[in-house]
């Protein structure tokens, strides 16, 4: 058993232009080191934003707490709440913003597919 904290106080604030008011607590090793996927907990402060950009690989964002707005290729913001996930295809332009603040798991990796009933 190896252990890891992904609590708010274990998160870091990446110096990335796309991220505004966002901290990241990784769960897995990053894709660039050869892992099959990367998973991390992203926390958006109130009015935080993951600005519009294309997904480099297929991506799932699962909202664990809070609420926000997500958009995909059509640019249309859709409300999203805790307990809901979205999937973006590789190359899909997308954005996530939150007035209230939100905590989300983000999973990224080649071949990733959303569960279908």
């Amino acid at each position: 058993v190896e252990r890891l904290s992904f609590a708010a106080d274990a998160a870091f604030r990446p110096d990335e232009e796309l991220l505004d008011g966002v901290t990241v607590a990784p769960l897995t090793s990053p894709l660039r080191t050869g892992g099959p996927v990367q998973a991390a907990v992203f926390r958006l402060e109130p009015n935080g934003k993951i600005a519009c950009h294309p997904a480099s690989v297929p991506q799932i964002l699962a909202v664990l707490e809070g609420s926000g707005l997500v958009s995909g290729e059509d640019g249309e913001p859709q409300p999203i709440n805790a307990g809901e996930a979205v999937f973006w295809s590789a190359g899909e332009v997308h954005e996530t913003v939150s007035e209230e603040g939100l905590t989300a798991l983000i999973l990224e990796g080649d071949g990733l597919e959303l569960f279908r009933r």
Copy 2:
């Protein structure tokens, strides 16, 4: 943008001997369909249990809510709380129990590695 609910009311109760008082809400397609990893939200009711068994592939369990006890190869139960994750190697015998109840993300896949600082 594709959407999926992983809320409690979207979860199912697998008919598996290892699971006692546990519901599962998948996020990704399962490993058996060729995905790189499978991710799902497991909810243990109070006194729920994922009984002792070897991990078929490397596994990360990240506690999102609640608390419980996890053990690995040595069988020693360790307390775990929301914001903490554990990693089990392929083949590692492990168990998860919760008196209070807990919600956890479980990620499983070949080549999965825990984030290291």
